[in-house]
Symmetry: C2
Subunit: 411 residues, 2 copies
């Protein structure tokens, strides 16, 4: 049996060797609880301190502005619930004639969108910001949605389904020009290590991004660790409430015994990702260009209305990342198509793999204007890493061609 | 240099070999995202399903009643916030003339006690239940605190500072007799794998424990994974709100990409702990008895008022676990004492290591009646596992004797 080729690196990645070594080291030899005061605890705590220093350097913050969490989803929840529960804890008696508002883009990951919607029963007015076919914020509607009651805006930097890249720093500036008191959060889980992410300003600047979410397992770190970077250090003192209470780890914002191995592994994977960022961009861009050229050569992707494939991702490198490509095969549902591709050893995704094994991509594809009956449920996502090769793209292109033929025969 | 001897297994444990192997396997080879629908996802998801089945068998539940979390603290927060935020989401407009009440014992771990207190600003009436010198609930006061408005009672099964064992099933029955609608939660983090924990009743019984929290790293599993066991399956449908929203993992109660390696490792460690439970009890009881006999032999622990040491833990096996022993050295602060013991290669704890590197034990010791100036800040915790030997107890006893002499000379 031939080996499967993985084209789903936007869903997750294997741990790099050095990251795994850190996990092993802190599981057995240096197994102390980082909160213990003895030498076993100190060894564990030192590793966490080093990781905090590393990320503080990357994000131009103080170490205490780095809050390690159990996942990117938890970081997003800490941002949204942290801001809103803090507000509610101080304003419970208010009748909310003008309810506090939060805005999220209509193509956010569920850990932002569902989290935002879950705040409605507490009197929060949750609004989704429309996007265009490239997954870019519609600016006029965005401006109209920003009111003086706007507590929080959350817009991701890179969309996980179609790979659109959003100018989050510019969007933060625009939003804060209209409502200076709002908090701007960006989910950078799909962006970190792939494109430049926001850093804290060197001088006081109130038009900047306040909170950034990260996850380790998208960049060859382990599952089970993420971070919320508090670029606006004032939030450490007021305005952000913990999501998990207890022993006071992570500056009181995320209690629970930390795993120093997972946190060290996150640091190690991030060092590698940041160092290799340009190389990865060049490599995945070359893979994307080669894939699209090959599909065009085979007349599978044409400019005509009857093109066997349609591209759902933007291509301009100013508004997209090269490692995520979304394609529809009009007339053919994505589930069986992906299964046929897997029979030919090509592993692609039909959804975002963000949860509960159901399709999460449909909502995003509908938001960028795809029709519900056709393209949205017929889309697959191909996503690359440094581990993919041009030879693998040849195999993928051939597999796409023959599966389209198979499905056409069956239809 | 001689090797340090670890007497702080209540704070954490190293991973057992089989648990580490599972972590390695799912970090690299079987690295898929458990929510992905392809074979890589299926491999990862199968491991999680197997773990869920294992715990369901242990707790006499259906697999969906097992909710894996990122820590024991998170499980406790999911229980407390899950119940209270659900109530608030349905009762925001109420003026709370009779505010909803939650009760926690006064010696709970901070991930229960601090979490409970953090709910006050939302109009929840939080009350602490007094305990006696053995860390047992004062029943009369407990009954008086239970009102018809009581939403939730949370009482741990084993205290992490002094090792008291509480009759939580009996306490649940008593509490529900007075207020049948209340939810009873128990933090079993220090109990699971050491003593029998609550299981779901085979037939409908409304007087039972509803929610149980677990953690992996106390029983030779990894840090970064725990579970909330929903013994009362009705809570899956109504009454418990997620703490982390998003992709809908863990039946929607804990979104975020799961780490199948951590979850498998938790299963493997639990299998071992449950299988060896009686053996561990006999072994740690033998260690405790030998330690106390040795200290008595050396006249360090006497019945007299001028005994160099005082025992803060109960000894009756009906109301204590043998692996946690708390001792005070009146007149000598615990910090320097623990440091001196470490110089003699004995690693003990001055607090619970539950967080933020500050003393958490004081509050518990004050609650069981120790005086603030004397014993509370002079206590150390010694905690055993199967890894400790009688020879190590000899070294510890000699170290205690000589450090007490050292401190007496310095004083």
């Amino acid at each position: 049996m031939e080996e499967n080729i993985f084209f789903d690196y936007a869903s997750t990645t294997p741990c790099c060797t050095a990251a795994l070594e850190a996990i092993q080291e802190f599981s057995v030899k240096k197994f102390g609880n980082p909160s213990s005061k003895h030498s076993f605890g100190n060894m564990a705590n030192t590793a966490i301190k080093e990781a905090r220093l590393f990320f503080a350097d990357i994000f131009n913050t103080q170490p205490e502005q780095i809050l390690f969490t159990g996942s990117g989803s938890e970081a997003n929840n800490l941002a949204l619930y942290g801001i809103c529960l803090d507000y509610l804890s101080k304003n419970l008696k208010n009748t909310f004639n003008s309810p506090p508002r939060i805005l999220v883009s209509s193509i956010e990951h569920p850990s932002v969108k569902q989290t935002a919607l879950s705040l409605s029963p507490y009197g929060i007015d949750v609004q989704c910001i429309p996007v265009n076919k490239n997954g870019q914020i519609k600016l006029e509607q965005f401006m109209d949605l920003i009111t003086p009651q706007t507590l929080l805006v959350s817009i991701h930097q890179v969309n996980n389904i179609i790979g659109s890249l959003l100018p989050v720093e510019e969007l933060a500036r625009i939003a804060k020009t209209k409502c200076p008191s709002l908090i701007f959060h960006t989910d950078a889980v799909q962006a970190f290590g792939k494109v430049q992410t926001a850093r804290a300003p060197s001088t006081l600047d109130l038009t900047k991004i306040d909170l950034v979410s990260l996850s380790a397992h998208k960049i060859e770190g382990p599952k089970g660790v993420g971070a919320l970077i508090v670029l606006n250090e004032k939030l450490l003192h007021s305005g952000l409430r913990p999501l998990i209470w207890g022993g006071g780890q992570e500056q009181g914002f995320r209690s629970g015994t930390q795993n120093p191995g997972l946190i060290s592994a996150f640091k190690i994977a991030s060092q590698k990702a940041v160092a290799e960022q340009d190389q990865v961009t060049r490599h995945t861009l070359a893979l994307r260009n080669y894939l699209l050229a090959s599909l065009k050569n085979k007349k599978l992707l044409t400019a005509n209305l009857d093109s066997p494939l349609r591209l759902n991702s933007p291509l301009d490198t100013q508004i997209s990342v090269p490692h995520i490509i979304n394609l529809s095969a009009p007339g053919f549902p994505s589930g069986p198509w992906a299964k046929l591709l897997e029979e030919k050893n090509c592993i692609v995704s039909t959804g975002s793999a963000c949860g509960s094994r159901k399709e999460e991509s449909d909502e995003v594809l509908l938001a960028i204007g795809l029709s519900p009956k056709n393209q949205a449920s017929q889309a697959i996502r191909i996503s690359f890493s440094m581990r993919n090769t041009l030879q693998e793209i040849d195999i993928l292109t051939n597999a796409i061609e023959s599966t389209l033929n198979q499905m056409a025969r069956l239809a």
